[in-house]
Symmetry: C2
Subunit: 335 residues, 2 copies
């Protein structure tokens, strides 16, 4: 005899809906059934407050409705914003998201990839700097900003076009002598294309340019040294600076203040990313805006799609320029 | 006959370790066994590369080694930092973390709490503004910043002491007439104690003070209006301002600039939280620092502890003052 207060089973749902047990199973597992059957089953599920047992479901259907996100941390505002929008894109599709802040720990990254390979999660979205990861073919993995091999889709902003756009904007706003300041991983990755794009744009628009390239771990003091070397009689020889990230731009704005240079009157500054100090409100500088909500949506779409092969190997999403008070935009608008 | 390449089972581990099957099961499920047995089992697991099936394990042991974090979003830098440190504290203990950015959606919050009540996750850490959540007794739930009832532990900074400390610091640095600016939820919660603490500190140190309290959704323009009303002949009548968060302080610094007031010479500003613009580096203002790593560790400790009753209903962790360039610290140090 069934106890009054025991949890309803799939059988109870079938009885309530007046359908076969297999129909309930199909609905619960997201398989196609006729619309009227689906509606009856869903109503019975609601009425009985039937709770799908995800673990049993995981064993049977090899579906966990869970994806994992590998990201270095959520303290950096770019990573924090990506995490938010990927979480939203998954929750919208009734997927849960395991978050794994890796702090660049390759052992942790590999552990989560193994989970995907063992079907303990349905897939992984990862932003990793680790070229040695072992990802078997057909592992549901979508990479952000870094190509991991032809079978693994990679989603990024159009970094090359972004660099080019920065050069064009500086030229439009009257600059003649510009600099590019970069710090970051020397590994091959998508953001590295900002440099080539910028060079390309400078050449196309006849801007003379210099570059200062630092590696991860180098001190921002080297940017100060570089800029000091380009001062003559209290005046900087550059009238425009493109910084590889808003974070670099933020530091450079501090250095320029120290050197007595007025921004944007004496020197204009463009960053990259589109960071808001408190997650919303003003941008920290004029910048090339990464379309983070679009990147998030596309990562989730590519991860959850089924039977679409071959997967697109690299998708570069369009970027835009936004004013943020560190450039002489003719319209005078401030982001 | 066992296939050469099939995955090793618990039986294989028992054979390899030379122990009973039950001993392997205990080790895998984190139950106590003699140290030499545990070491032998762990070595066998490593040697055979035995992978625990978490779903089967979830069904058997009612342990998922997964906790969920409910947080409004990860775009706000305070939430982003909390998310990072809670993730780290869980990963360190070999727990996975489901992230659920709620955007204040109470339906989503309730769904995750139901998961905990059905043992689909081992527990929930939540920062919620929703007083109507149904949390059954004995649900493993730890609340941040908001008391949810006597059976649910709540972890927060010592917000009262923080408000008091802000008043004391402003007094120490020479202020006589101060203001408190607040925006936020009017629901009863721990951060609301900043106001009472500040009042207390002002009274103890003989500071005259005024308050401007806005509700969530009000425009920051009202702070500008309030400050304008306290200007006489181009001079602000306050020489010190305590802002309820660094975010408010950031806006107020912009307003003060617009009003031609020099910070910290004309007016000193202290915020609350300890936000770094890019997740590290300088603070955005002199501030009362919340001990986020300690909050994270304690939440996880309280969530995962077993058989310790009654759980502590409210823990307020000590805060500290850090200079950030918006106060006249006698030592001249800048955070």
């Amino acid at each position: 005899m069934k106890k009054e207060n025991s949890a309803p089973t799939m059988k109870d749902v079938a009885r309530e809906a007046g359908v076969a047990l297999g129909t309930v199973s199909k609905v619960v597992n997201g398989l196609p059934v006729g619309e009227p059957y689906r509606l009856r089953v869903e109503e019975a599920i609601r009425k009985l407050n039937y709770q799908v047992n995800s673990y049993a479901q995981g064993l049977k259907a090899s579906k966990t409705y869970t994806a994992a996100l590998l990201i270095p941390n959520t303290k950096d505002p770019f990573f924090a914003s990506l995490t938010y929008y990927i979480n939203m894109a998954l929750l919208k599709r009734n997927y849960r998201m395991l978050l794994c802040c890796t702090d660049f720990d390759s052992r942790l990254e590999q552990e989560y990839i193994n989970m995907a390979q063992q079907n303990k999660v349905d897939g992984i979205i990862g932003l990793t700097y680790n070229p040695g990861l072992k990802i078997e073919e057909h592992t549901p993995f979508v990479s952000i900003d870094r190509s991991m091999g032809v079978k693994i889709p990679c989603v990024a902003s159009d970094n090359f076009a972004g660099g080019q756009l920065a050069a064009e904007k500086l030229a439009d706003f009257g600059c003649k002598n510009v600099a590019f300041l970069r710090i970051g991983s020397s590994l091959s990755n998508e953001p590295n294309k900002r440099k080539s794009g910028f060079e390309n744009g400078c050449l196309a628009r006849g801007l003379s340019y210099e570059m200062k390239i630092l590696n991860d771990g180098d001190s921002f003091d080297e940017f100060e040294q570089f800029l000091r070397e380009h001062m003559q009689e209290g005046k900087l020889s550059f009238d425009g600076i493109f910084c590889v990230t808003d974070r670099v731009a933020w530091s450079v704005l501090g250095i320029l203040k120290k050197l007595g240079q007025k921004v944007p009157k004496d020197v204009q500054v463009i960053g990259f990313d589109g960071i808001h100090v408190f997650g919303e409100g003003n941008y920290v500088c004029s910048t090339i805006l990464q379309p983070i909500p679009d990147i998030a949506e596309l990562c989730v779409e590519l991860l959850l799609q089924e039977n679409i092969m071959p997967k697109t190997p690299l998708v570069c999403l369009p970027v835009t320029y936004v004013p943020g008070g560190t450039t002489l935009d003719p319209s005078g608008e401030q982001g």
